[in-house]
């Protein structure tokens, strides 16, 4: 995939300011602030129920944002409909290897470019995506349900890339994958970042994912507990968060 144009003001790529969000009356996030740089892999880690996936959903209009702002390239997108966010270059790969199981691999990828009208552009993007995930090329006309778990995850990521995003939101891409497949998926994530797509990734498998993350946010009970580079993994606070306050 061709390297993307660099974003001029990197400090204004994606910002969350005092975001409070949840689902109906159930508030999950409490005043979350984040700054995501272009061409970075930003990782969100934290224990179950900390609100990691809700951060991604807040950026994609898939949950209720009660307060605060989501700013993308200097524009307030907090109330923007999902399809307008896609047009602005944001794509999401939901948790759980979610593909259109009754559609073929090719049809899944075509649906990824649903907002694109030019057929030639869709074909070009499909070629690029299949370049990233050659295993899908052999299964182009197979139904997605017949793919293995790892292949389904790659298809879900490929579908996200069909929108040629500048920011890719990945929700637990390694969930339920064998260690070898998980490593393959993480390699692909790095490849995508190296080609200029910013990645914001939620991951349970913190140890493996932190190895290649540029920036890490640690979430605890709907609040940012810590953030910084890989060095924060050595902090005692991390152990407390993950082990419920009982250090080993």
């Amino acid at each position: 995939m061709a390297k993307k144009k660099s974003v001029k003001d990197t400090s204004k790529f994606l910002q969350l300011r005092s975001v409070e969000s949840g689902y109906g009356k159930l508030q999950i996030l409490f005043g979350v602030d984040m700054d995501i740089n272009p061409s970075d892999i930003t990782l969100i880690i934290g224990p179950n129920g900390a609100g990691k996936s809700t951060i991604l959903k807040s950026m994609f209009n898939l949950c209720d944002v009660y307060k605060g702002k989501v700013m993308y390239k200097g524009k307030d997108i907090t109330k923007l409909p999902t399809h307008d966010r896609i047009k602005m270059g944001i794509a999401i790969v939901p948790q759980g290897r979610q593909v259109f199981s009754g559609l073929t691999v090719k049809e899944n990828l075509e649906m990824g470019a649903f907002m694109t009208k030019e057929k030639e552009l869709i074909n070009t993007r499909m070629d690029e995506v299949l370049g990233h995930f050659p295993v899908l090329r052999k299964k182009l006309y197979d139904n997605a349900y017949s793919l293995s778990g790892g292949q389904q995850q790659m298809l879900a990521m490929g579908r996200g890339l069909m929108q040629d995003p500048q920011l890719l939101l990945l929700d637990e891409p390694s969930l339920g994958l064998a260690p070898k497949t998980m490593q393959e998926v993480f390699e692909k994530v790095k490849e995508i970042r190296d080609e200029g797509t910013a990645i914001l990734m939620v991951e349970q498998n913190a140890k493996a994912a932190c190895e290649f993350a540029d920036k890490i946010y640690v979430l605890e009970e709907g609040r940012v507990a810590m953030h910084g580079g890989r060095e924060i993994l050595k902090s005692d606070k991390i152990k407390k968060i993950y082990l419920g306050g009982h250090e080993k």
Partner: protein
């Protein structure tokens, strides 16, 4: 004239009508995930609109046919906007939507009765009879078979080869993921109701030309369409079509041995057999309980 050939031909004609009803029903069920039983009332509306335009208003017959089908398609979309969309907005369950569809069917049947009256109506047409393969067939019956087959092929093409059809299948498959690629499910539901009601409108017009019209006609036809869909597979259009032809053939061949009054009973017996022993239908995937 061979009785067997005649019964098979009658079965194919009945199956073609049931297939049109079942394909629309199955399309709406597959995408929206609830059983739109008012689909039968939409069909009856199509038949009565043909009567209104062709007989009461005295319009050109073909213009009346086109108008009846167009208004019926729009009627389906209006039903979706006025009744089902507000229910979806408050996150009503499929059971609530099913109850709403039965209420809607009852309401429309009553409205048809109030507007056009209880007496049987007829749309007069020229309908020559032919002998084909030792059986007697009318011109309109030939039209029914040809139109049904052409429409079912067009529907298959729409679902497999067009962007709209793929988006409809994507929403049917996973509505939440469909939203993440920019598909607006509400728009897709509108298109689904328009296409499903178009098929019901065509079925209504074809029945209106061939048979008498009466206010409850949609109820028995939607039950036949539903039975056909259950036999083949409720969520699969090819399954619904296959099931409908099987139902048409079994019903018509069955009355060789049974009195013709048992025709509807045959459909219900088949429905019970499939619900008991093969609820996923002939082409359906086995659903594993969580």
């Amino acid at each position: 004239m061979s009785i067997a050939t005649q019964l098979i031909l009658n079965g194919i004609i009945a199956g073609a009508i049931y297939a049109l009803v079942a394909s629309g029903f199955s399309l709406i069920y597959g995408v929206t995930k609830f059983m739109h039983f008012a689909h039968g009332a939409v069909l009856a509306t199509g038949a009565y609109l043909l009567y209104t335009f062709a007989v009461m208003a005295g319009l050109n017959f073909w213009l009346a046919v086109v108008l009846a089908i167009m208004v019926t398609s729009l009627f389906g979309a209006v039903m979706n906007w006025v009744v089902y969309k507000p229910l979806r907005k408050i996150k009503a369950s499929s059971a609530v939507l099913l109850i709403a569809s039965i209420a809607l069917m009852t309401f429309i049947n009553a409205a048809v009765l109030a507007i056009w009256g209880a007496d049987v109506k007829t749309v007069p047409t020229v309908n020559p009879v032919f002998d084909a393969l030792g059986a007697r067939v009318t011109f309109i019956q030939v039209i029914i078979i040809v139109v049904s087959i052409l429409l079912l092929l067009a529907l298959w093409w729409l679902m497999k080869c067009t962007k709209l059809g793929k988006a409809m299948r994507a929403v049917a498959d996973n509505k939440e993921v469909a939203q993440t690629v920019g598909i607006n499910p509400e728009k897709i539901y509108t298109y689904t109701f328009i296409i499903g009601s178009f098929l019901a409108g065509v079925a209504g017009v074809l029945i209106g030309i061939e048979q008498n019209l009466y206010p409850q006609m949609g109820v028995s036809l939607v039950i036949k369409g539903f039975t056909g869909a259950v036999i083949g597979s409720l969520a699969s259009i090819p399954g619904a079509v296959l099931g409908s032809f099987i139902l048409g053939l079994v019903e018509n061949i069955g009355i060789w041995w049974l009195p013709s009054g048992y025709k509807d009973a045959i459909a219900f017996v088949l429905l019970f057999i499939f619900l008991l022993f093969k609820p996923s239908g002939l082409l359906g995937k086995k659903v594993r309980e969580a």
